[in-house]
Subunit: 189 residues, 2 copies
């Protein structure tokens, strides 16, 4: 059995916010969120200070799944190169699934514009963790310029995710050779 049997109001709101803002954008109304969650507006505003805070909490709550869906398990014995490639294999996999709209954290930051918005701050933090993973693996691998490689990888991640999300590319045959090229040049084998 899982630890969460029946979701409470708070969890249902977070889940509805995650789903609807990803599908329709952060401009989605609170009435729609409440209806989808089966929770009254009164309860929403007892649990969260504002729609903005609900949005931020929803992003933060989804960070675990985001990481779990992309990163390899810690200390799985594979090489840094394999562990980095794992992330992009997962991305390509997710990009092929129906309903994929690109990285939600990038989308939120682009939609909100204001970088000081609570949800934008959360999104930035979560994405920084991904960059940190890349840099850690790059350093562990003894790459010539680990920081450059990490920046290149997150750049490819966001570019690929965004382009797949808007249906401009399906990433097939694109992401693997591109990342491999960057890893090769950085000296990762």
């Amino acid at each position: 059995m899982t630890t969460e049997a029946k979701p409470n109001s708070r969890e249902r709101l977070l889940e509805a916010a995650a789903m609807l803002t990803y599908r329709d954008g952060v401009g989605i109304g609170v009435d729609a969120l409440c209806k989808a969650a089966g929770v009254s507006k009164k309860s929403l505003y007892q649990l969260f200070a504002s729609k903005d805070e609900l949005l931020a909490a929803s992003l933060k709550e989804g960070a675990g799944a985001f990481v779990a869906g992309l990163l390899p398990p810690a200390n799985d014995g594979r090489s840094p190169r394999e562990r980095i490639l794992h992330v992009f294999e997962q991305l390509e996999l997710q990009a092929g699934a129906p309903g994929f709209q690109g990285c939600r954290y990038l989308a939120v930051q682009i939609e909100l514009k204001d970088q000081r918005h609570p949800a934008s701050r959360v999104a930035r933090r979560i994405k920084r963790n991904l960059t940190t993973f890349f840099r850690a693996e790059a350093e562990r691998s003894g790459a010539g310029d680990p920081d450059l490689l990490a920046r290149q990888l997150i750049l490819v991640f966001d570019g690929a995710s965004a382009r797949a999300g808007i249906g401009a590319d399906n990433l097939k045959g694109l992401i693997a050779p591109t990342v491999a090229t960057l890893l090769d040049v950085a000296g990762l084998r």
Copy 2:
């Protein structure tokens, strides 16, 4: 002297739409657009069928400046490699300017979600032209896989532009070596 001396209502609306939707997102209200353009809503709806059409027309009208600000002049005698690098030099330059928010066409597509929205169609077309430029240069250069290279370049373009637009990276020391690596591996010298 330039060909346009004083902008008419239509041009002022297109300009205001370009500026405000880039700064604040496509959710900007028509009242704000009209006020910024100094044009009444009545006139707006005589000139455009809807806000969506105004937005689409505004993007289309800005395509010329977008191309002029990025692409090198046709037949400037430089090599494909130099001409491709020119685009990314321009991008890095623009990314350093105040008010830079990333590629407006990518942002519009991400914000709208609906790929059949008239403005989303226009944005897609304009970005396809950039990919076409990359592919043409790649073919002209005799690259091993011109199509792959073009997709890699537009991926880097969107990724770099998006990340600079949200303030996640300033591209300094990132974009040039990354593109150079891709060009090297593709056999462009």
